[in-house]
């Protein structure tokens, strides 16, 4: 397949491919420095064609664009340009950010976790309110699960439990670790470098409960932080796994989207 996909480099550079091919090619592109260089140089060449079609836009465009930017916050730089899902976007091209969820939703493809996750995380990263510079804002302190000391100690109990078992998953640039103590019947999620959920969305946690399917285990606080630790609600002892999905703000009674990550307790 690699020779075949390699040949798409020209069509990709000028957007002459369908969504499926684009997704496939971007997976390849992320790992192929030669294609990255070629795409960049071909895009550079193709965009020169715009010199032949220069047309002054109506002056109303200037007004609406300059008014528009007042309401749009520029995104921070990607923390790690050299790695991660966003970097798998078009080289030298637009980040596959804002449109990614639409693409994913409107493209009928078999469920392929990696792609969905990368597409989704790219959009989450785009929407992220990252902690940059000296900004020390931590929305997690007053998140949905409260901030009482009891919460912290319950979390600590799980983390320090003798039977605490860790399950890790890397999701793009983020890492999620579930720590479960069967004896306590509780589990904690530790999310590192988690981007904020897109506007109007939240990350929701689910226990996979035998005979009940995915059962709500709480909503992660909205926002982003370097490290987030949340105690899941529900019975971790009977659960066979944990899932994370993106849901409308506040959470859903049942998952409405493909999981970003699934952790099986084995």
């Amino acid at each position: 397949m690699s020779a075949d996909i390699h040949g798409l480099v020209g069509a990709y550079a000028v957007d002459a491919i369908d969504e499926q091919e684009r997704s496939d090619f971007e997976l390849h592109l992320a790992e192929c420095p030669e294609c990255q260089a070629e795409v960049a140089s071909l895009q550079e060449a193709a965009t020169q064609l715009s010199l032949l079609s220069e047309t002054a836009p109506p002056s109303s465009l200037r007004d609406s664009v300059l008014a528009g930017i007042k309401t749009v916050r520029p995104l921070p730089p990607l923390e790690a340009q050299s790695r991660g899902p966003v970097a798998s976007g078009p080289v030298g091209g637009p980040s596959p950010t804002a449109d990614a969820p639409h693409r994913a939703d409107s493209t009928v493809v078999p469920f392929r976790p990696r792609r969905r996750v990368t597409a989704w995380l790219a959009s989450a990263a785009a929407a992220a309110v990252l902690l940059v510079g000296g900004l020390a804002w931590s929305p997690w302190d007053d998140g949905a699960n409260g901030r009482g000391r009891g919460q912290v100690s319950a979390t600590e109990q799980v983390l320090e439990a003798k039977d605490a078992t860790r399950y890790e998953k890397v999701i793009g640039d983020a890492k999620a670790t579930i720590v479960r103590s069967a004896s306590l019947g509780k589990a904690v999620i530790i999310a590192d470098h988690m981007p904020a959920a897109p506007d109007g969305k939240d990350f929701q946690l689910w226990y996979d409960q035998p005979n009940h399917g995915m059962v709500n285990a709480g909503v992660m606080p909205h926002g982003s932080a370097d490290t987030v630790t949340v105690l899941l609600s529900g019975d971790a002892a009977t659960a066979t796994g944990v899932g994370i999905t993106v849901e409308p703000a506040g959470g859903s009674p049942a998952p409405t989207s493909e999981p970003l990550a699934l952790f099986a307790f084995s």
Partner: protein, 202 residues
Amino acid sequence: MMVPMAATPSGPQPSWGGAAVGADLAGLLRASALGDENAFAQLYDAVSARIYGLVLRVVRDPAQSQEVAQEALLDIWRTSARFDPSRGSAVSWMLTIAHRKAVDRVRSAQASTDREDTYGSRNQERTYDETSETVERRLDAQRVRNALDSLTETQRSAVELAYLGGYTHTEVASLLGVPLGTAKTRIRDGLIRLRDTMGVQS
């Protein structure tokens, strides 16, 4: 995970074409990323005719083109911090965003509306704003025309249908009545020729 682009020289970008506007576009993008609206206004003045013209060439309908160009420009503002000069010129980065949006628009409209036949309607580019065209720009445009002329006729058709027509390589193949792989190859070879003739470095 992406490997650093060692294969891509990170030296100065081509001084022609992108520099037609004479401004430090990369610097204006950086300032925009910091929320500098004046910098973005300068950026707008420097590139809006190329962005709008390209979108109009692909989308054709002026009202829709205006919408698409606006979306693209707002996207450029929003993602300005993500422009990476080591991967290409600022003007190419911005035009790539606009092109992608234009193509998305015609593809989504394609199902319901048949666009007028696009091929060979080059004379529709009469909407040039001649008064804003400087000598320098004319020279740049001439350089591009010469480069296009260096392509074989089949390469040129394939590149124009793909890039300016907004067609997929599959559609290009059936429009030209050639096998799939052939269209793909012509697009790529045509672009390579264009690149090499214009001396694009990226």
